[in-house]
């Protein structure tokens, strides 16, 4: 059980959150940029200090303003995956893992972990020789070395292109379930959040405005086909409006009613639902 209740004064607003989750869950913190998502993650990790509140993980108190407890980062059992991966360029791929190992007798797990993310043959390579996806996987597995109680992920896929992101999401989910680690991910990518999360907290201007299962939060009907996209342009026409919607790497033009057209603005995230069995589809040849 993880219980978090925190307040922290930020530059233009106050972060004020209250969130709980059961062990083994994959939780996402979702919301627009600048909503306080990353700050919240840093507060949980102990990289920043809350003004008020508490953080309890199982029976350990990591932070409590009332009892004046603030466990230093290194003593909190966390794994943290940074947006820029924060790999140590002065060490080889294998040494990055080794560095995180506490006792010498566990050194044999290095190969095992590298194997898990298909990096075993890169063990003695320099970090700079890895591709973006490989760096991401190394950062992820390095965060798991110490068998953390809580895995914190800060926009872990944001630097990767779409196809890579999708395959890494599967790997992340596989590792999270394999190690059964309670995870909190910060993301602003709906499809990613919907795919990975057991539970979603929607945060805006420092407050949790909605929370629930992704199906409820994003109003997803599991029997239908759901396509997530972002409105990137609007063109009014006489009887209806045309939305230009970005879905993954493709842009589609979507005719919508006048009413819907007026309610949506550029940058809005939308879900396009198609009834199962009630759409036409055709295989396309690629490349």
């Amino acid at each position: 059980m993880i219980e978090i209740k925190l307040k922290k004064k930020l530059f233009s607003f106050e972060l004020n959150v209250d969130l709980n989750t059961n062990n083994g869950n994959f939780v996402s913190i979702f919301g627009p940029s600048g909503a306080g998502k990353t700050t919240l993650l840093r507060l949980i990790a102990g990289l920043d200090k809350p003004d008020w509140g508490y953080i309890r993980v199982d029976d350990e108190v990591w932070f409590s303003s009332k009892d004046n407890i603030n466990v230093p980062v290194r003593l909190r059992k966390i794994g943290f995956v940074f947006q820029d991966y924060a790999l140590f360029e002065n060490m080889s791929v294998g040494k990055n893992i080794e560095f995180a190992i506490e006792s010498k007798k566990d050194l044999n797990v290095v190969d095992e972990l590298l194997e898990l993310v298909h990096l075993k043959e890169y063990k003695n390579q320099k970090i700079s020789l890895l591709s973006g996806g490989q760096k991401q996987r190394l950062a992820l597995v390095r965060a798991l070395v110490r068998k953390p109680k809580l895995l914190l992920l800060d926009e872990p896929m944001s630097a990767l292109d779409l196809s890579l992101r999708v395959s890494l999401q599967d790997e992340l989910l596989f590792l999270q379930k394999k190690f059964n680690i309670t995870s909190i991910m910060v993301s602003h990518d709906i499809s990613e959040v919907a795919k990975l999360s057991d539970y979603v907290f929607f945060i805006n201007n420092g407050k949790i405005t909605k929370h629930g299962k992704p199906q409820a939060i994003f109003d997803i009907d599991a029997n239908n086909v759901n396509i997530f996209g972002t409105v990137i342009d609007k063109k009014p026409s006489e009887l209806l409006g045309i939305l230009k919607v970005l879905i993954g790497n493709s842009i589609i033009h979507l005719p919508v009613s006048k009413e819907q057209f007026s309610q949506l603005s550029i940058g809005d995230k939308i879900v396009i639902t198609a009834k199962a069995f009630n759409f036409s589809l055709k295989k396309v040849l690629f490349d």
Binding site: R74, L75, F88, F99, K126, S128, R146
Partner: protein
């Protein structure tokens, strides 16, 4: 050693000792300056950079006054049997003060250029500040460390005003190469002045080229 080579020996001995001592002091001060959230940071940074803005002779004069047996500090040092004017130890202390910003500034920039996440990642992996400092931060800022060491070394080789004020011109004790050049020129011994000048400029230029070569190597090593 022949009297003729003695000033060069003194110069390189002085620069080596000053650089080594300054490195160990400077690296911790730079770490503090780079990461402190103190409101007084601007003041500390100004203090570190005083030697850059003060004429060397003025700096030398103040150090001389400070260490002279009539001052409080001088008296205190004398009580412990330490004398810091007109001897080699005085030159070392003077050089350390004089070259202070040349060591500290590149190191501060080096620390600040490292992504914050590097340090934080080490903490989340259970490492102490000390382990993070030695195993993550320092190895990732080799070019800055090299620049700091070389700048300090070359700068100390070339100092004149401070050394002359604190050490005077005692052959074999405080008569370093720069003073020997001045001395020889005044005595119209241009051949000797020219020799010392040539050695100093050759060494300084070689070191400079070496630094650029090594920096290029560090960068390409990290990238390839």
């Amino acid at each position: 050693m022949s009297d003729f080579l003695l000033p060069l020996y003194l110069t390189f001995k002085l620069a080596t000792i000053a650089t080594i001592v300054l490195f160990f002091i400077g690296i911790f001060i730079a770490y503090f300056l780079a990461y402190t959230h103190s409101h007084l940071r601007f003041l500390y940074e100004a203090l570190v950079n005083i030697p850059l803005f003060l004429p060397p002779v003025v700096l030398g004069f103040y150090i001389l006054v400070l260490f002279s047996p009539v001052s409080f500090l001088g008296k205190l040092l004398e009580y412990f049997g330490i004398k810091l004017v007109f001897n080699f130890s005085g030159l070392v202390v003077g050089s350390i003060l004089y070259s202070f910003p040349f060591m500290v500034n590149p190191l501060v920039s080096g620390f600040r250029a490292l992504p914050k996440s590097l340090k934080e990642a080490a903490y989340t992996l259970g490492k102490t500040k000390l382990e993070t400092f030695f195993k993550v931060l320092l190895p990732n800022m080799k070019p800055s460390i090299l620049s700091a060491i070389v700048l300090t070394f070359v700068h100390t080789i070339g100092e004149f005003g401070v050394v002359l004020m604190i050490g005077g011109n005692i052959p074999g004790v405080t008569k370093v190469a720069s003073i020997a050049i001045f001395d020889a020129s005044m005595a119209l011994n241009y051949k000797l002045a020219n020799f010392y000048s040539l050695v100093l400029s050759t060494v300084s230029l070689s070191v400079l080229i070496l630094v650029f070569f090594l920096n290029k190597k560090f960068v390409s090593n990290d990238r390839n």
